[in-house]
Symmetry: C2
Subunit: 259 residues, 2 copies
Amino acid sequence: MAEFLNSINKIILILEYDGRRYHGFQWQANAPTVQAELEQAIEKVTGENLRVIAASRTDAGVHATGQVVSFRTSSRLSAQTLARALNYYLPEDIAVKGACQADADFNVRRHALSREYEYRIITSRSRLPLAQGSAYIVPYELNIKEMNKACELLKGKHDFASFAAALRPLRDTVREVYEARVTSEGHLHTFYMVANSFLPHQVRNTVGLLIRLGIEKVGLDKFRHIMEAKKPGLAGPAAPARGLCLTKVNYPIDLEFAI
Amino acid sequence: MAEFLNSINKIILILEYDGRRYHGFQWQANAPTVQAELEQAIEKVTGENLRVIAASRTDAGVHATGQVVSFRTSSRLSAQTLARALNYYLPEDIAVKGACQADADFNVRRHALSREYEYRIITSRSRLPLAQGSAYIVPYELNIKEMNKACELLKGKHDFASFAAALRPLRDTVREVYEARVTSEGHLHTFYMVANSFLPHQVRNTVGLLIRLGIEKVGLDKFRHIMEAKKPGLAGPAAPARGLCLTKVNYPIDLEFAI
């Protein structure tokens, strides 16, 4: 029995996916999800019907370049061999970028110190077919300086209830934001946000409110007022999913992904 | 009769498209092409069944951010209004980015001084779902310094027969290359090439040979030898279309595109 337990390995994967075809990461009964594709591929490689855990449950349409997932397997394949085999079975729009083994008690969700997200906005009066799959095209100029002033207000430990989806009541809406800023490269403006964890729709509602500020429909005072009201649904409207990407999950230990 | 002639306008459009769904720019009987989509949209807006002319006939799968096309219309709509109306009817993966009016004798193909192309290569051992639609993922390191030495050989007026597709004999294979270089940003390597005009498959065959050089399968001497042999099909193999993008067409006059 001890031998049987020892023969189970905890595998950690880092994933990139184009979220457009998926109803989010998490398994759903009647819709394609990243989790379902990954679990199917794992079953093809190992013969095991198992559940994976993700560091961050990305929403429908949201992309990832650094999603982290884990699963336990009795397969004797090395993490790298497993990764390459999974890539063979995964669809074109999902890829394993690296894999490693971890201690049995390592939990990709609970042990994550922070998550990093990027939201890409392009200011353009015309559609941009090559960019529009991974960015939100906004047909007016944005006051990036003012948006960065609002970003300063977001930093630190706050009750972000106003930035949560109005759908479901949450027990605890306090989060700690380590970084929030907008950087520009020509017409491409990237909002970068790092927090210990995020409320549902928090980044997209933040971007929605930042854009209202950037086009000068609301001022910094109103931004502060919305933040302090702590009322779900007040921020937003949620910016479209296609601009959002989970780029990194940070842990207290260095995970040495290889492929 | 004079009035009738005066009422015909020459319209110039600048187009962006994601080439993945199309069998190239040029009209084909039984395959979707950018030209067919554009001519259909024009017919919906103006009621006219006409032919457009493009500055560069991009191949199947090749993208554009700066394709230039022209057509003659008796529509009284302004160029900008036409552009916005066309965008309403064009599919998601083709967009008019700007429009202007030009003299009746302006020819987007004959009057072009040069065309600019970019080819994006990413060196990565794993697939990259978010990048692979607009880049060629190469699973080994490239010697970019050596590739840039070869780029120097390409500059100037040369007979580029070895870089032409082997398919069809060409009368004149001399072209003048104004710029050729590879720039790197992390794992993204962009090959940039400007010439008065290009032979069929010239950029993709050039990239194919540059990659063989970058992975040290051929040396600079062999590169020079292939170039001097002037034999269609010697360079290559053609790098995949998805990495290639027509970025700009230059004219002796400034076309003031607006939308």
